[in-house]
């Protein structure tokens, strides 16, 4: 579904990622972990078109998307949910969701909206409120809902837990799990690996801009323990 081959990228002349490759398959969740500053957000930003890779290829369904503008990437079916539950604060909850349907018709929108309201009833309840009046957790639900409306082939999710109480994470993760099972390729970047890994299929750890290792998510804890005792 999404394939990234040996990308090198950074800001201006500052390389942050060196030779990173990954594959995200339809129906699976890939969890990307690593400490702050390891380059996880830069990786997602580069895939989504926010910065241009200096080298390497990014393929969506076999078509290269590296170097395209973010809005073009989004329209070709890859949706990035930025970190820090960013929504449009001065728009209503409903309008935020509506803007998710940048591509796609009215029918698709209606169906997807119903689904989102089913999963997160609080969004339906507060659909007239300004997004700025939601709590952090609700804003994260809204941001995900907005992405869901777009029905992307690939979903990138940057630190869904950031700024949220731990208790809010499981419902969000199980939503992503069910979403992935409908045939979407999902990539989650997270620091809280312990909670997240049980929802994921594959895992990958990035350290200092390069891939430290990849493994099935079920083996992540063991691998991390091994890495810690060695290094």
């Amino acid at each position: 579904m999404l394939e990234v081959r040996n990308i090198v990228a950074g800001y201006g002349t500052i390389p942050v990622l060196r030779d990173v490759s990954l594959k995200a398959n339809a129906g699976e969740i890939l969890l990307i972990g690593g400490e702050n500053g390891a380059g996880k957000s830069t990786l997602l930003g580069t895939i989504a078109g926010f910065n241009k890779p200096d080298q390497g290829e990014i393929l969506l369904d076999g078509k290269p998307i590296g170097g395209m503008a973010p809005e073009v990437v989004a329209r070709s079916g890859l949706r990035l949910v930025l970190d820090g539950h960013r929504v449009f604060p001065e728009l209503s909850v409903y309008d935020n969701l509506r803007l998710g349907a940048a591509a796609g018709g009215r029918q698709v929108f209606k169906r997807a909206l119903e689904e989102i309201y089913d999963v997160f009833p609080v969004l339906k309840e507060k659909h007239r409120l300004y997004a700025r009046d939601l709590s952090g957790g609700q804003q994260q639900m809204l941001a995900l809902g907005q992405a869901f409306i777009a029905q992307p082939k690939v979903l990138l999710c940057d630190e869904p837990s950031m700024g949220l109480a731990q208790a809010l994470l499981p419902p969000i993760l199980s939503f992503l799990r069910r979403w992935a099972e409908t045939g979407t390729a999902v990539i989650i970047v997270e620091q809280h690996l312990a909670v997240t890994s049980s929802y994921a299929d594959q895992a990958m750890i990035i350290e200092r801009g390069t891939v430290k290792f990849s493994c099935p998510a079920s083996e992540l804890e063991a691998r991390l323990g091994a890495a810690a005792s060695v290094g």
Binding site: Y11, P15, G33, E35, G37, M162
Partner: protein, 599 residues
């Protein structure tokens, strides 16, 4: 120590090939001086009255555009009103001299004073706003100015203007050259030289940094507001002298002479010639003013259209302007400042290592925070923090995203203020000190995104630290600075790797002779070997140079490897503090990190 064992040859031995100059400023100044001399004296020798008059005016416009260039690029102040400044001085002089019979020299001083006052008025809003706001304010001033000249006819003679004759300036003294011809030739040359010298000076660098990154400037002890005032004042005085010279050249002032069009000529000349290029204003005036008004004089009513189209064309086709585009081609060939060797400091450190003896942290307190609280709206970023950092120690400050580390660092450097509590640097209560005052207490910092300025050479980037030094520096640092100047004087800074940029910023604080250094996530984006080098460097700063280091960092391996003490923040509060072993065992800390790897 690796730093000491690993000596690299410094400039003198290593480099054989001569590096190309970082920029062509000096060459441009030389060409510029010749061109001004030609336009100033050439027509006189040719003996054509029309050309003499025209090019005298051209030279005045060149001088005014040079000051516009300085103000616009070196100081970053977008003024669309320099024509009004010129007019203030021309009118001031004309009123005093022509209407009140004040001696010309005194009248000229009065005129220049009026221009300076105008410049200070422009600077006032510039203290609060920048960019397009300032553009609108200065443009309004330029629009209002001629209206005022008409309305205040009691003093200005209104629409009729003022005629002036100054025969003493017009009488040739030798070879048919009048004092006036000499003045309007020499002054633009002087203006060019002054611009060059300011740019090469500490003042010029401080202005430049203030405009590019006010927070970096403040952390170097510079007051950006003061720099803006100084820039407006210098530009106004220079432009004011242009106004004084305008008077005998044109022999007449009227409100129409100083409408917005004049301001646009100066501004457009800078853009078309090449923003920031020494030669830019000269070429710019040649294209913007000479081309439509002299060479295509039969189409003179189309001149505004030509100004606009030429400028639009330049923005679209040559965004760097004519001279800027040529300079770009030239500097493409200049590759000084790339690759692994572009910025190494091992050799320099070895040089410094000999000067000191090994030092250990003392019990004296360098930095202390008492019950510090910082709020942003409803968010409490720093919540009742108590912190003590001993002199000479490496103090690690860690915590998750949003735990308040950077907020605390910004408080300590004066970039933001505590809402409650207080903090002390070397025992002095600095809670309410502004950033520049704190910086001048020998405190230095680096930023998450290194403040490296590609417009300056690598050495000038380093030199900002030297500029910011308080009092006379030590001989060791002076020697280090000289060595670096020879090595990096003509290197570019924009091709450095991320790790090298970090090192440049660190070296800046060393050259500043900061005794307390704060690093904001210095290891982010560094490769493994760069991290090791950085760790060595921090150890060197603390143990060899006796500096106090506060390190905000996410890389826990790095922190545990070098810190003497560690403080852990969580949601703005200190959850643990002490030596690395104790903190690692603290249960409150363990759950915070991936895989509990430091247990």
């Amino acid at each position: 120590m690796t730093a000491a064992s690993n000596t690299y040859p410094n400039a003198q031995q290593g480099e054989t090939a001569k590096k190309a100059r970082f920029n062509s400023d000096l060459t441009q100044v030389k060409i510029g001086l010749v061109l001004i001399l030609l336009t100033g004296i050439g027509p006189v020798l040719a003996g054509n009255e029309y050309w003499i008059h025209t090019f005298q005016l051209v030279n005045i416009y060149i001088a005014a555009s040079i000051f516009q260039n300085f103000l616009f690029i070196d100081a970053g102040q977008k003024s669309f009103g320099q024509g009004a400044i010129l007019g203030l001085s021309a009118y001031g002089t004309a009123i005093l001299f022509g209407l009140h019979g004040v001696p010309f020299v005194l009248a000229a001083l009065g005129g220049i004073a009026a221009a300076a006052l105008g410049g200070l008025l422009f600077a006032l809003p510039a203290l609060r706003v920048q960019g397009f706001h300032l553009g609108f304010v200065t443009m309004s001033a330029a629009i209002v100015f001629p209206q005022l000249l008409v309305t205040l006819d009691r003093w200005t003679n209104g629409i009729n203007g003022i005629s002036v004759r100054i025969p003493a300036l017009m009488t040739p003294i030798a070879f048919g050259i009048s004092p006036l011809a000499l003045l309007v030739t020499i002054f633009p040359m002087l203006a060019l030289i002054v611009h060059y010298l300011i740019r090469r000076s500490r003042l010029g660098r401080n202005m430049f940094v203030s405009s590019l990154s006010p927070e970096a400037a403040r952390s170097l002890g510079i007051k950006p507001g003061l720099m803006r005032f100084a820039a407006f004042l210098i530009a106004a005085i220079g432009t004011g002298i242009c106004g004084v010279l305008y008077l005998p050249v044109v022999a007449f002032v009227s409100p129409q002479g100083f409408n917005i069009e004049l301001s646009f000529v100066f501004f457009f000349a800078v853009v078309v010639g090449g923003r920031g290029q020494m030669l830019g204003p000269i070429i710019g005036v040649a294209i913007i003013y000479v081309l439509p008004n002299v060479l295509l004089a039969q189409f003179v009513e189309y001149r505004l259209l030509m100004y606009g189209c030429l400028t639009m064309g330049a923005v679209m086709l040559f965004p760097d302007g004519i001279v800027g585009s040529i300079e770009r081609l030239r500097s493409k060939k200049n590759h000084g400042g790339t690759g692994e060797r572009a910025f190494r400091i091992d050799g320099f450190l070895a040089q410094l290592a000999g000067t000191g003896t090994a030092k250990e942290p003392t019990e004296e307190i360098a930095v202390e925070v008492r019950n510090g609280t910082k709020r942003f709206g409803a968010v409490v970023a720093v919540d009742g923090v108590n912190l003590k950092v001993r002199k000479g120690e490496i103090h690690g400050l860690i915590g998750a995203n949003g735990s308040g580390k950077t907020s605390l660092l910004n408080v300590l450097t004066g970039l933001s203020r505590l809402n409650d509590g207080s903090f002390y640097i070397n025992g002095v209560d600095t809670t309410d000190y502004p950033a520049d005052k704190i910086a001048n207490m020998q405190l230095g910092r680096t930023f998450q995104a290194p403040r490296i300025f590609s417009q300056m050479s690598l050495w000038d980037n380093l030199r900002l630290g030297l500029d910011a030094r308080n009092g006379k520096g030590s001989d060791a640092i002076d020697a280090l600075a000289r060595a670096m100047e020879t090595e990096f004087g003509h290197d570019r800074a924009d091709l450095l790797s991320h790790g090298q940029r970090r090192l440049v910023e660190v070296m800046r604080t060393v050259l500043k002779e900061s005794t307390i250094v704060l690093f904001d996530e210095p290891a982010a984006g560094l490769s493994k070997s760069e991290r090791n080098n950085f760790a060595d460097l921090v150890r060197f700063l603390s143990r060899q140079l006796g500096k106090t280091v506060i390190l905000v960092e996410h890389d826990l391996d790095l922190v545990w490897g070098i810190a003497d003490r560690i403080t852990v923040l969580d949601q703005g509060r200190v959850v643990s503090s002490g030596n690395p072993e104790a903190v690692a065992k603290d249960a409150a800390v363990q759950h915070m990190f991936v895989g509990a790897r430091h247990a």
